[in-house]
Amino acid sequence: MGLLDRLSGLLGLRKKEVHVLCLGLDNSGKTTIINKLKPSNAQSQDIVPTIGFSVEKFKSSSLSFTVFDMSGQGRYRNLWEHYYKDGQAIIFVIDSSDKLRMVVAKEELDTLLNHPDIKHRRIPILFFANKMDLRDAVTSVKVSQLLCLENIKDKPWHICASDAIKGEGLQEGVDWLQDQIQSAKT
């Protein structure tokens, strides 16, 4: 079965569908990142703060992603959990220039990791240390320290520095995610 899937994937017949949650504080750049991953003709020109969520789709070389791009504003964060069950992977976006709110991001991450729908699953998490182009941005290493990512033992994770506006670093992250999902399948 796995073989067949891959075969059809290689032949470009039908790509495997995966369901991904895109989380992170407001203004971190989630919508911008997802938008950049879409084919250029489907990209939207103007990006506004998300209210609730929005469903977006994009494809990588062998997968078809359905992303629930959630709103990061404080009052909507408690609604994320409604969507945890169905997620097969998580993209967690951090604004690396927002040192002030790094602790808030950490808190939200911890709540996420301890949620019953997430806690016992080996669900891959991709971190984007976004806005690396900004002058006061900290490095991705620093971000992973600040968020104590080394404590995550039971889930595969990866952090990439990114600039969503130019699209830098995004492909690397998506490739990692694709590998993780496919290796989990086989």
Binding site: H19, F53, S54, Y76, L79, D86
Partner: protein
């Protein structure tokens, strides 16, 4: 599945509803499928349908279960199936008020509304506006403005209609979208134009001038949309109505010009608007009636129906205007559509001559059984109007009514017939006996409690005064034996009334009542016991007070007073005089001899105007201890012209020994605020001003109230009528009209108001005595007083009756305010209560010589009732 078969067997109709046996919990369980991927659009759409069906059937969804289902539904946004997506929009709208956090779909909806798929955009706008509250609106304002002017009509219409809904809670925000709405109003699409105009009107509807401007602007340029025309016509006629009636207005010209529009819909709307304008003259009606006349011969049934229905209405007020259409209406009498035929006939009955009545009645009886109750009521209304117009025809008409009464029919229909018969009986005394006996026959087999009790009441009132009262007893007593408790109680009361008025029958009535004492029902037993005891006393006064004339107090007032009494028990017995009187005597609540309308308002038990006043006055510390409010003057009197700096209206509140004047003041100057406002009074008689309760502050255009309390003259009760000169005194503080900023310093000023009159009628409250004779006897001779007056300025008996009723402010009993034609004598019977709870009865015999002479016997328990001569020169003492 099995269930489906069972149900098919049960239902003879065969059209089976697949959703009939849905169970909420099962459906919600199914809704978990929404969480699964990949999504099966058909299955999910079907489940959504079930959820919507349940909600629309009134099934209650708890917040938690609704929210859970709602969030599951949001996941369906991954699917691009168009049917499923549109089901989602519907679900969002339906669940927006039962589930929590529905704003979660905001971004998804804004994406759809700005997306490429036109089929999604309109519905997405509507769903979005439904979930958006005023705090969130800001976030989507930009999208709404764009959507209003969108090129796709369905998007624009959706946005406009949604804006209209939003107007209710976010007026100020939506107001900012008028430029966009204005642009949409010039759209070529008829729906968009209609919706845009609707929004513009609702934004401006509180500003008369702006509305007028809008109408003239759009009508000058002409409109594409007939719907928009219809709406403009409605708006214009509403404006006209409020402008009270000047027909020179361009608004009227606009409506009239619409009679020549190329769309039938617009033409009809215009005609119907003109016809419904209050106080429309025959000349103004004519063009409207003639287009309706044309419609009468239209091949379209809907148009014929609309025309004849409208003409029917016109015929009630202006029968002569419709006569021109008689020929066309005659053609409709045989219309295959029975509703049209009925309306045509009933219209003809109103406009036709007396001679055609028999023919038309025969015509209509040929298909009476084929038409629905609703139209039967129309027929009854027509008959009722005819009876008033041609009293001589009442025999024919009554027979027709009796036949109808015997046939099958619903409550409204039967009630219309009974109302009509009762009004005929009241108008024509010759028809009384036949009418009563038919009604007796009707209650022998009447399934409507309300009608049965109403007729029993009527029998009790009228039966004893007929030539052969005993023949009604059997019918009444049958009710006691055969009916349920409400009707039994009514029957017992009716029996008692016979016993109270007819000595010969008394022994047998007593026997019957004794049997009722053993009834199963409390109320019936109580009534029987009570009446039995009263009747056994054999005292006329008791019969009159307790059996023949009921309570005159306000029922909610009595309830409150009794409750108060039980809360603060005292040695003193409860005093009925402390209870406020019913402000309108019971009989007046029924519009007298008005055509019976199919839908009557349920009788109100809500607080009356007087009870509201009572509460407000009780809250003023200075007015403690005045006792119960006896009467408030029915309409505030203006003490200023309407266009002056200050506008003051006065309402008089009468207590047993005091009077409170309530002054409602408005300051119409935007550059000043008044403080400490009082109205000083200077009486001509021995009234004494006790205190002033000022209005603290009167800012521009915010009404305020001040009061003045006076003691009524005790020594000299003839000084009841009095004139007060009034002066408003206050402190003025200037203020800036734009910022509202006020000067610290103020100065004293005063303003002369018009004189205030207190009349005899102010001291007297109307009450209804169903049986005046009995009430008169109850009072006794020692309180009687007789005087004769000449009413020199009065020319007719009607005028005399009107003036006396108005002057005394009493209630005309037994329809004695109706003066029969061609008579030169008349007896007017009046009943009232003087403040403090003293009954007054007046029986005045009027005699028309060259002028009217009035012989007035006042039977009253308040000995010094008297009328001031000098104030009313029309009355001269013999």
């Amino acid at each position: 599945m099995l269930k489906k078969f069972d149900k098919k067997d049960e239902e003879s109709g065969g059209g089976s509803n697949p959703f009939q046996h849905l169970e909420k919990s099962a459906v919600l369980q199914e809704a978990r499928v929404f969480n699964e991927t990949p999504i099966n659009p058909r299955k999910c759409a079907h489940i959504l349908t079930k959820i919507l069906y349940l909600i629309n059937q009134g099934e209650h969804l708890g917040t938690t279960e609704a929210t859970e289902a709602f969030f599951a539904m949001t996941k369906l946004f991954q699917s691009n199936d168009p049917t499923l997506r549109r089901m989602c929009y519907l679900t969002i709208k339906e669940m927006s008020c039962i589930a929590e956090d529905v704003i979660i779909v905001t971004s998804s909806l804004t994406k759809d509304m700005t997306g490429k798929e036109d089929n999604y955009r309109g519905p997405a706008v509507r769903a979005l506006c439904q979930i958006t509250d005023s705090t969130m609106l800001q976030a989507i304002e930009r999208y709404m403005k764009q959507a209003i002017v969108d090129k796709v009509p369905s998007v624009s219409s959706s946005a406009l209609v949604s804006s209209l809904h939003l107007l209710k809670c976010s007026f100020d925000m939506v107001k900012r979208w008028v430029n966009e709405a204005q642009e949409a109003a010039s759209s070529d699409n008829i729906m968009v134009q209609y919706h845009a105009l609707g929004l513009l009107y609702h934004v401006r509807k509180n500003d008369r001038l702006a509305v007028n401007k809008m109408i003239s602007k759009f009508t000058r340029h002409g409109l594409k949309s007939p719907f928009a025309y219809c709406m403009m016509i409605r708006v214009a006629s509403k404006q006209l109505e409020e402008e009270d009636g000047s027909r020179d207005s361009p608004l009227f010209d606009f409506i009239e010009s619409c009679l020549r529009n190329k769309h039938e819909m617009v033409v009809y709307e215009a005609a119907s608007a003109i016809v419904n304008l209050p106080g429309c003259s025959a000349k103004e009606l004519a063009p409207a009636v003639s287009v309706l006349q044309l419609f009468c011969s239209s091949p379209k049934a809907a148009l014929r129906y609309a025309a004849v229905r409208t003409l029917n209405k016109v015929a009630m007020k202006h029968p002569s205007a419709v006569t021109a259409c008689n020929l066309d209406l005659e053609n409709l009498v045989t219309d295959s559509n029975r509703s049209i035929a009925t309306l045509a006939i009933t219209t003809l009955l109103k406009t036709g001559s007396e001679s055609s009545i028999d023919r038309l009645m025969k015509q209509i009886s040929s298909f009476m059984s084929e038409i629905s109750d609703e139209f039967k009521v129309v027929v009854v209304q027509a008959i009722s109007a005819l009876c008033q117009k041609y009293p001589r025809k009442h025999a024919v008409l009554m027979n027709f009514l009796f036949t109808m009464l015997r046939e099958e029919g619903g409550f409204e229909y039967k009630r219309a017939i009974v109302d009509c018969i009762i009004s005929i009986i009241e108008e024509n005394s010759e028809s009384k006996e036949t009418g009563l006996s038919h009604l007796c026959e009707f209650i022998e087999d009447c399934e409507f409690t309300v009608l049965a009790t109403r007729i029993l009441h009527l029998l009790g009132q009228e039966g004893p005064r007929t030539n052969n009262p005993s023949k009604y007893i059997r019918f009444i007593y049958n009710r006691v034996v055969l009916e349920h408790e409400e009707v039994r109680a009514g029957a017992v009361s009716a029996l008692a009334k016979f016993g109270a008025q007819n000595e010969e029958m008394l022994p047998s009535i007593l026997v019957l009542l004794k049997r009722c004492v053993m009834d199963d029902d409390n109320e019936v037993r109580d009534r029987a016991t009570f009446y039995l005891n009263v009747l056994e006393q054999k005292q006329k006064a008791l019969n009159a007070g307790y059996i023949l004339n009921g309570l005159t107090v306000s029922i909610p007032g009595l309830e409150r007073a009794l409750q108060q009494y039980t809360l603060e028990p005292s040695e003193k017995p409860f005093d009925l005089k402390s209870v406020p009187l019913a402000t309108t005597p019971m009989a007046e609540q029924r519009p007298e001899s008005a055509p019976i309308t199919a839908t009557k308002q349920p009788e109100k038990v809500a607080a009356t105007r007087q009870e509201i006043f009572q509460e407000q006055l009780a809250a003023v510390p200075d007015f403690q201890g005045l006792g119960p409010l006896f009467k408030s003057s029915p309409e505030p009197v203006a003490l200023t012209e309407s266009e002056t700096e200050y506008v003051v209206h006065c309402t008089k509140h009468v207590f047993t020994e005091h009077m409170v004047f309530q002054f409602d003041c408005t300051n119409t100057l935007n550059d000043r605020t008044l403080e400490n406002v009082t109205v000083y009074l200077e009486p001509t008689e021995a009234y004494e001003v006790l205190c002033y309760v000022p209005a603290r502050s009167l800012p521009y255009n915010q009404p305020g109230t001040c009061y003045t309390l006076v003691a009524l003259p005790k020594e000299d009760p003839t000084a009841m009528a009095c004139t007060f000169s009034c002066m408003m005194k206050f402190t003025v503080k200037d203020c800036d009209p734009t910022t509202g900023e006020m000067d610290e310093e103020g100065y004293e000023d005063e303003y002369v108001l018009e004189d205030l009159e207190v009349s005899v009628a102010d001291h007297i409250q109307k009450v209804m005595k169903v049986n005046f004779e009995a009430a008169w006897d109850e009072v006794g001779d020692e309180f009687e007083k007789e005087e004769t007056f000449t009413l020199s300025t009065i020319k007719t008996l009607e005028e005399a009756v009107g003036n006396i009723v108005k002057f005394l402010g009493m209630h005309a009993c037994e329809r004695s305010d109706k003066v029969p034609d061609n008579k030169n004598t008349h007896t007017l019977l009046l009943a009232g209560v003087f403040r403090g709870g003293h009954d007054i009865l007046v029986r005045s015999r009027l005699l028309l010589l060259d002028t009217v002479t009035m012989q007035e016997s006042g039977g009253n328990s308040f000995p010094s009732f008297c009328i001031q001569k000098q104030k009313y020169p029309g009355f001269v003492l013999f």
